[in-house]
């Protein structure tokens, strides 16, 4: 096992009181595997990995444990984390413009990674960086290499981010909504790129997104998050074929899709996503759940097996 997250809980101190963004989350990833993490805004999907990378906001704190290749990395000192981040673990973010430094040329931002982490010579770093830009499909890489981020289009910036994240050949890439800011045709290019590179470099990937279509194309397993908890986890085929949690099922049904009749009305999930500061006493999905019964209001459901190699957190035995 490459990554093992055990009972991770992350909370933030806010003027309105403590807000629990991640609640008792456990996830595992094997080498070379792609785990999709789906959820809506505020479901905690990003904060799980921000906690693990030591990138939480100042008012945040986490409990639990994260084992990377058997070593506990949650809460490590910055200097120790820096030996892992960008080397073994890399992360790419949704908005490539705000994660690149606008003052520095792409060349400087890329070579820095290699010289800092690998102690590569400047000359060698330049060669490797240009090679990586070629690999992610940036045209005229030698010329583009000397440009500033604002001279790149959105798709090229995201490619540059990916190139930067892959420079040290990490074992795990965390991609947080990597294509949300991009157009569909560019999204298709980037997803193809991530899938291809993952295979080529035998790199494990965590794909955090709200788009089930993106998950379907890339992931091996899927974890569905709601209100800071994992509510269902299964192989991608099983999850899409027979979702066992009412939220996963609702999410799948509320998506307009190109492969079914357009006459079918969309099944919207009624109500609003939960307010993390005022979570219900029982299951956090209960107020929106059409199957909810008395026990759901009282008791938070634990994750339990719902079939072979899959789990869900729901009191319901089976969705009728």
């Amino acid at each position: 096992m490459l990554l093992d997250i055990q009972h991770l809980t992350t909370s933030f101190d806010t003027p309105e009181g403590e807000v629990c963004a991640v609640n008792d989350v456990s996830l595992q990833i094997d080498p070379g595997q792609c785990l999709g993490v789906v959820g809506e805004s505020g479901s905690g999907k990003t904060q799980v990995f921000m906690s693990m990378m030591g990138l939480l906001a100042k008012n945040g704190k986490s409990e639990g444990a994260v084992y990377f290749e058997g070593r506990q990395i949650l809460g490590l000192e910055t200097s120790e984390l820096n030996q892992l981040r960008g080397v073994e673990l890399s992360m790419i973010f949704q908005d490539p413009m705000t994660s690149l430094n606008p003052y520095l040329r792409i060349s400087r931002q890329m070579t820095e990674v290699l010289m800092e982490h690998r102690g590569t010579s400047h000359k060698q770093a330049i060669a490797t960086s240009i090679e990586m830009l070629n690999l992610v499909g940036i045209p005229e890489a030698e010329k583009r290499f000397r440009m500033y981020p604002h001279e790149f289009s959105g798709g090229m910036r995201q490619r540059a981010m990916i190139a930067m994240a892959l420079l040290c050949e990490p074992k795990l890439l965390i991609a947080d909504e990597p294509t949300t800011a991009l157009d569909v045709t560019v999204q298709a290019q980037i997803l193809e790129l991530i899938a291809g590179l993952g295979k080529k470099m035998n790199m494990a990937t965590v794909l955090i997104t709200h788009d089930l279509g993106v998950i379907a194309g890339l992931s091996d397993r899927v974890a569905v998050m709601y209100g800071g908890r994992v509510v269902e986890e299964a192989s991608v085929i099983e999850l899409f074929k027979s979702p066992q949690h009412p939220y996963s099922k609702g999410l799948l049904e509320s998506m307009p899709r190109l492969d079914t009749s357009s006459e079918v009305a969309l099944h919207a999930i009624a109500g609003q996503p939960p307010d993390l500061q005022a979570l219900p006493a029982g299951c956090s999905f209960e107020p929106r759940c059409i199957y909810a019964f008395e026990r759901c209001r009282r008791e938070i459901p634990d994750l339990r097996a719902s079939g072979e190699n899959r789990v869900k957190a729901c009191h319901l035995e089976k969705i009728p």
């Binding site: 809506e40 805004s41 499909g137 045209p139 289009s153 959105g154 798709g155 090229m156 157009d183 569909v184 045709t185 560019v186 999204q187 298709a188 290019q189 997803l191 193809e192 709200h210 788009d211 089930l212 279509g213 993106v214 998950i215 379907a216 194309g217 992931s219 991608v236 085929i237 899409f240 609702g250 999410l251 799948l252 509320s254 998506m255 307009p256 899709r257 190109l258 492969d259 357009s262 006459e263 009305a265 969309l266 099944h267 919207a268 999930i269 009624a270 609003q272 996503p273």
Partner: protein
């Protein structure tokens, strides 16, 4: 629902809106010492008709001019050329005072639900504002009554009338935006990416709401979106834009089942399907490269720089809109070629 977009064979009613050769150009000043103005052709010669009760979907990627088109139709931006005919009257370039007369019949819903609501007004005042502008003779009580009615219709509790926008979630804010657009009982609503800022489970709520209101009031809609699955769901006819040009217009079924333009084909094949087996096995037509700069669009066909079918003629000649089916038009020299 069988809208006017379905091929029923019955004679079509008069269009509610006729757009012919609409151009919206932005002057861009370039050069250092010798300044010159170059037109940025955001919308270039777009024509279409919109019928009562019909939804026209407008799709394309960012920068293709779809929002500018919506604003050009509503005269929120002054067109640089072409005509916009609303129920028989030319409205292009009308002075604001005269345009005001038509504004009550055409409204708009914006993309960012929170940013399009004034944070210092209560939602009651926000929703009532169109009434204040167009029907100042109404009494405060009459206005409140209308606001309450419309709030109920869009799924907001009337008792929330005195709250402020920040107290609402994104989905609810968009309901407020819909209520504001609906309160004048308009004939046309331009929906400019109304759901793209919302969570998936909320998107469906808003799409269903807009569709329901259309059925109830016989609204015509121009639904602008980059999301092909949503556009397919709500539209009767769909227009595909690329770099300010219409590349294909067709009724929903023909466009998705039988796209003719290589760009439409690529767009449709790029949409990820929420089905792992299909998605991992399907053949994808991936476009390479990026959108060219709209300041120096390619000669001839604007799509030729990314087109897998492009030949010499595409650089030399701009393809004309060709009728390829009853309700299907395409602008491509090689529309009958396979990729």
């Amino acid at each position: 629902m069988s809208g006017p977009g379905s091929n029923s064979g019955a004679p079509r009613p008069e269009p509610i809106l006729s757009v012919r050769g609409l151009k919206v150009y932005f002057p861009i000043i370039t050069g250092g010492l010798i300044r010159t103005t170059v037109p940025l052709k955001a919308v270039d010669e777009v024509s279409f008709d919109l019928y009562p009760g019909e939804t026209l979907g407008v799709v394309g990627e960012s920068g293709c001019g779809k929002s500018t088109l919506g604003r050009g139709i509503l005269q929120l931006l002054e067109p640089s050329g072409g005509s916009v005919v609303w129920l028989g009257n030319h409205i292009e370039g009308l002075p604001a005072a005269e345009m005001k007369h038509y504004r009550k019949e055409m409204q708009i819903i914006f993309q960012d639900p929170l940013a399009s609501l004034n944070p210092r007004m209560t939602i009651g005042d926000i929703i009532a504002e169109p009434l204040t502008v167009h029907f100042p003779e109404l009494s405060v009580e009459e206005r409140k009554q209308k606001v309450r009615e419309i709030m109920e219709q869009v799924g907001l509790l009337p008792l929330m009338i005195n709250r402020y926008p920040h107290e609402f979630s994104g989905g609810q804010c968009q309901r407020i935006g819909v209520a504001r657009a609906m309160i004048l009982k308009p004939k046309l609503i331009v929906c400019d990416e109304p759901v793209s800022a919302l969570d998936v489970s909320i998107q469906a709520q808003i799409v269903n709401l807009i569709k329901g209101l259309q059925d109830t009031f016989g609204l015509s809609l121009i639904f602008i979106s980059h999301d092909l699955s949503i556009v397919r769901h709500i539209s009767h006819r769909i227009m595909v834009l690329y770099l300010g040009n219409t590349v294909e217009v067709a009724d929903r079924e023909s466009l998705y089942k039988n796209p003719k333009h290589p760009y439409t084909k690529a767009l449709i094949s790029a949409v990820p399907l929420p089905d792992p087996e299909l998605e991992k096995s399907k053949k994808r037509l991936v476009l390479y490269g990026d959108l060219p700069s709209p300041l120096s669009p390619p000669s001839g066909c604007v799509f030729r720089t990314r087109c897998p079918l492009a030949q010499d003629i595409c650089a030399a000649e701009k393809p004309e809109m060709t009728q390829v089916g009853d309700t299907h038009q395409v602008a491509c020299h090689f529309w009958d070629h396979d990729i």
